[in-house]
């Protein structure tokens, strides 16, 4: 890899000052599991690498107003094993547990994954289905962005060169809601998903009709894909195979996968439909079980 200056600030303020001064020439490094590969392959060649290793205060999970706030430096392994996450938003623990291998999960962070913005990743898909919001900070101020608006293209987000993603806010699931993350990988378990689906279904407990749902997919477009047209189909309806088939068809129309070693575009599109149908059914069953 090309040589770079390395900085390891002790405080957030110092990080932001460095980003302000070096912006476009700098990259943030947290766990480094994605970034080091890109550096090795010279896909990126920053003049400065700003490590978040010494920062405290960004690596905890906190309860905040009916939501959980995940610090950007919380690791995948933390998310997988945290009693708070497993108890309050178990689908998140299930999602982080399915990423890569233990070694990667010990280093890769919640925030780093989002900033990396590979559309085949697992956690962005589930987080989006949970209506997560991200906190972005620069020396000029802070803002919050809904995750549906955060990703713009392959490896691109709305993050400005001087901004740092500091936390993710995830609302606690509403009552009578079932959620699932389904990772379809025809190759090995440590791979990225060929197709990933996060589905969340909220039902009206007495009628068992769907109140609201979320359908988000990974690996089928240039960003994680939320298909609101399919979500609208389920609203006010009862769980039925024909309904799931219709939702699957609508989802397929919105996918735009690329052909790669994980599958041809046609295969991914086909599997997107199959997986959405399965995920919705499982999420619905979870909602029914939770309500009984």
């Amino acid at each position: 890899m090309r040589a770079f200056e390395y900085r390891e600030p002790d405080t957030l303020e110092e990080v932001l000052a460095l980003l302000h001064d070096h912006g476009e020439d700098a990259k943030i490094i947290a766990g480094g599991t994605a970034l080091v590969i890109m550096l090795n392959q010279r896909l990126i060649m920053p003049s400065y690498l700003i490590s978040l290793r010494k920062l405290s205060g960004l690596n905890s999970v906190d309860s905040v107003d009916g939501a959980l706030q995940l610090g950007a430096l919380v690791t995948h392994r933390d998310m997988e094993t945290s009693p708070v996450i497993r108890d309050q938003i178990p689908v998140l623990a299930e999602t982080y547990r399915q990423v890569a291998t233990l070694r990667i999960r010990n280093m890769a962070t919640v925030g780093g994954t989002l900033a990396h913005a590979d559309p085949s990743q697992d956690s962005p898909v589930t987080l989006m289905a949970l209506d997560a919001r991200v906190g972005l900070t620069s020396s000029g101020g802070s803002r919050e962005v809904a995750l549906d608006e955060f990703f713009t293209d392959y490896y691109e987000t709305v993050l400005q060169p001087d901004e740092l993603l500091t936390h993710v806010q995830v609302p606690l699931p509403k009552p009578h809601t079932g959620s699932i993350y389904l990772k379809f990988l025809p190759r090995t378990e440590d791979d990225y998903a060929t197709v990933g689906v996060a589905a969340s279904v909220e039902i009206e407990p007495s009628s068992q009709l769907c109140r609201e749902c979320r359908i988000v997919m990974g690996g089928v477009a240039s960003t994680p894909l939320r298909v609101k047209e399919a979500e609208a189909l389920l609203s006010g309806q009862k769980l039925a195979p024909e309904l799931l088939d219709k939702a699957a068809s609508v989802v397929q129309e919105h996918t735009d996968p690329i052909s790669d070693s994980r599958g041809s575009a046609d295969y991914k599109r086909e599997m997107a439909g199959v997986c959405v149908s399965r995920a919705l059914e499982q999420a619905w069953q979870r909602a029914l079980t939770e309500s009984s």
């Binding site: 770079f4 390395y6 490094i29 080091v36 392994r77 291998t101 233990l102 070694r103």
Partner: protein, 159 residues
């Protein structure tokens, strides 16, 4: 570009090393410190041959900058044996035939040691889940699992 001074504890011994920013931990261990037990298999963190423990946790040393190890405790395969005998996991891999060519073995043994440190009596499913990221082209994994079970039983037996 300047070099950076890092201080790392490797296998119980303190080392001070001058490294350029881009030095990977695996290269620091193998070339700067002469600890060639850790192997580079894929360079992208998938195969597990480069596994070392950093503060007790298995990581891919091919994906870590040497700078990340500053102030940390690193354990490599060389750090497992005591002066007079092998670690239980190492001995079990010999006794149960857990390796053939041996290239994956340092990573396997280090990862297995971390498992037994955290969970001294793992089920087969727990072994498989923990070890899932360590690839082997020779053994078909059966003997690896038996070796880990053997090491766990040995530990439990207090032998």
């Amino acid at each position: 570009m300047t070099d950076y001074t890092i201080r790392l504890n490797v296998n119980g011994k303190e080392h001070t090393v001058e490294v350029p920013s881009r030095r990977l931990l695996i290269d620091c261990l193998r070339y700067d410190l002469g600890l060639t037990g850790t192997k580079e298999g894929c360079s992208v963190g998938v195969c597990g041959a480069c596994t070392v423990l950093m503060d007790g946790k298995p990581i891919s040393s091919c994906l870590a900058l040497a700078l990340f190890a500053d102030g940390k405790e690193i354990v490599t395969v060389e750090g497992l044996a005591r002066e007079d005998r092998l670690d239980r996991v190492q001995q079990a891999f010999i006794d149960y035939g857990g390796f053939q060519c041996g290239i994956c073995t340092p990573g396997m043994v280090v990862t297995a040691k971390a498992l037994l440190d955290e969970n001294p009596d793992p089920s087969v499913d727990e072994i498989k889940e923990w070890m899932m990221g360590n690839l082997c082209r020779c053994t078909g994994y059966y003997k690896v699992i038996e070796s880990i079970q053997g090491a766990a039983a040995e530990e439990a037996g207090g032998g």
